[in-house]
């Protein structure tokens, strides 16, 4: 059972990341970059430089481990699954920061601090949205949240939830309008001094995180493995793939505003919206 779930997590991450890179149209680009020289900057923080993509990848795997692949079958079947995922989100901010900090170069450093400023307030709507989903389930476990969606998926019962979580997903995977770490005005920011296989590994870790975030969104809002006819895991995979396509294609077509303005938007518009979402979900759950 456990071995099967470990394999399921690994396979989902691997094929999902491949799909994410393909959706981005970057398969050939990564293949070409992998063979090139890996440049070292002046006096870098070598340990953190090497480990930042590793932690990003590990957090993606941990996030996917709390997701039930079939009803009642999650690798980490924790009664506090939401807390486990929440700590993954917080550690993503730290990881991206370290990625920008380690090369000891100006553009990555600006990207790192900029991401910290945007990444922290993004965690708040994320947790309100997830807790709202925990209310009808009366549990913080993802297995129970799936169970609570038997009659009605949360995407309909809590209509503000998925749109708010989309913004969180874009921020956690450094994509499109929420890509404040690797922006063009700072020459791709935290990645500006990375070349060759190091750049590829970071891109793969981002793609793996996209799989993981999509899996969480599919579990919380789209009923996870629930669905007729097909077996549970297949439903989950289909929902993950659909959400990934939404994030990749949607992220490309929305402009990114300046970081200071996004900070205000996050606190003054999105956070109150998530309060409202929690209040509505609370009243409906009673």
């Amino acid at each position: 059972m456990i071995a099967g779930l470990v394999l399921a997590v690994l396979a989902t991450l691997a094929f999902g990341a491949l799909l994410a890179v393909a959706l981005d149209g970057r398969l050939a680009i990564l293949a070409a970059q992998g063979a090139r020289q890996r440049v070292e900057t002046e006096a870098p923080d070598r340990l953190n430089r090497d480990l930042a993509p590793a932690w990003y990848l590990a957090l993606a795997a941990i996030g996917l481990s709390v997701v039930p692949f079939a009803e009642g079958a999650a690798l980490i079947d924790s009664p506090v699954g939401i807390v486990v995922w929440g700590s993954c989100e917080a550690l993503i901010v730290v990881t991206v920061f370290l990625h920008g900090w380690s090369p000891n170069a100006p553009f990555p450093l600006i990207g790192a601090y900029r991401y910290a400023a945007i990444g922290l307030p993004v965690l708040l709507p994320s947790m309100f949205v997830l807790i709202a989903a925990a209310l009808p389930a009366e549990s913080l476990s993802f297995v129970a949240i799936v169970d609570s969606q038997r009659e009605l998926w949360n995407v309909i019962r809590q209509p503000l939830g998925l749109p708010l979580f989309c913004i969180v997903a874009l921020a956690l995977t450094l994509r499109g309008p929420m890509d404040y770490a690797d922006a063009a005005d700072i020459a791709t920011g935290t990645s500006a001094e990375e070349s060759g296989p190091a750049r590829v590994l970071w891109d793969i870790a981002r793609a793996a995180m996209l799989v993981s975030v999509s899996a969480i969104a599919a579990t919380v809002f789209l009923g996870g493995p629930l669905g007729p006819v097909l077996p549970g895991p297949v439903w989950l995979w289909l929902k993950i793939a659909g959400l990934m396509a939404l994030f990749v294609l949607g992220g490309r077509r929305i402009a990114r505003t300046t970081p200071s303005r996004m900070l205000s938007i996050l606190w003054v518009i999105l956070l109150p919206l998530s309060f409202l979402h929690l209040a509505i979900s609370g009243v409906l759950a009673l």
Binding site: A32, A35, Q37, V39, A43, R252, T258
Partner: protein, 306 residues
């Protein structure tokens, strides 16, 4: 041919090009790199081919050497000096160079000597020792020192650097000496004005594409240059209102709206230090991209005359 599937896949990748744009060639290069099969790298670390367009003045040769050496190996430098050579021909040359590099050819060597630009004079195990742990000069560079901030007066470190002439977010040729506190520009000075560009570089299509690229819409920018529609949401709205307001020229948001509607802008731009000081980095770059290159050039010349 005994090529691995990965290597065959790599051959289909668009050529990653870092552009070093010289006088008069900005529009040519921007149109060239919007083609399919080419990809504009925003940092030399992401590139394999360095495209040098135009004849550089002598004082730009040393910066060119720096950028060239920052491209990972194997790398190739391609010169596009002949104005009559078409974009198709250059694109072909770029593709050939890329295939060669993928096929295992040795690239170009460093242009600069392989010696640290300054001797290591560090104090202590990590070199940062000395007075207040900031006295050493590891790798020949001192650590940043504190100074007053212009926004809130906090005493934190000031980071001074010269940016350009090949910084992809600045007009080609422009070298700015910037002092940053965090990501806010505290002081700005023009070291070299941008290279002169023909009127074509002021085309609304190219101006809007530069802004779109900074808004994270590279695909939209390419579509616009190729003559299509941007096909993206929240374009003007993403530019903060009132940013980079210039008398008689509106703010950056209005200029973007104008470019997208096909109206060129002709502006009397104030001196760049005045325009950029006090702005956060993303805002400052957006303001610069919202100005036509000819206006920026006039603004810097004004400064020299004064």
């Amino acid at each position: 041919m005994g090529m691995s599937p990965l290597a065959r896949l790599a051959l289909r990748a668009p050529v990653p090009v870092f552009a070093a744009i010289g006088p008069g060639r900005q529009a040519d290069v921007e149109r060239l790199l919007a083609r399919r099969g080419l990809r504009r790298a925003l940092t030399p670390r992401d590139a394999a081919v360095l495209l040098l367009a135009g004849d550089l003045p002598p004082d730009a040769m040393e910066p060119l050497g720096r950028v060239h050496d920052q491209v990972p190996r194997p790398r190739r430098i391609l010169r596009w000096t002949d104005r009559t050579e078409t974009g198709d021909a250059v694109a072909d040359r770029l593709a050939t160079a890329w295939r060669g590099l993928c096929g295992g050819e040795d690239g170009d060597d460093d242009l600069q000597p392989d010696a640290p630009s300054n001797a290591w004079r560090g104090v202590g195990p990590h070199g940062q020792g000395g007075t207040g742990m900031m006295g050493g000069t590891p790798y020949g560079r001192p650590m940043a020192m504190t100074g007053l901030d212009i926004r809130d007066g906090l005493q934190l470190d000031r980071y001074t650097a010269r940016l350009g002439p090949f910084a992809p977010m600045l007009p080609p040729g422009l070298v700015l000496e910037l002092t940053l506190q965090g990501d806010v520009i505290c002081d700005a000075g023009v070291v070299c004005p941008p290279f002169a560009q023909p009127a074509d570089a002021d085309a609304p299509v190219l101006c809007s594409a530069r802004m779109l690229a900074l808004l994270g819409l590279e695909d939209a920018a390419r579509r616009v240059i190729r003559g299509g529609r941007p096909g993206a949401l929240w374009l003007r709205g993403a530019v903060p209102r009132g940013l980079g307001r210039i008398e008689g020229g509106g703010d950056a948001r209005e200029r973007l709206a104008g470019y997208l509607a096909g109206t060129p802008a002709a502006l009397a731009v104030p001196p760049l230090p005045e325009l950029l000081s006090g702005l956060e980095w993303a805002e400052a770059m957006l303001v610069l991209a919202s100005l036509p290159p000819s206006s920026i050039l006039r603004a810097t010349r004004l400064r020299e005359a004064a």
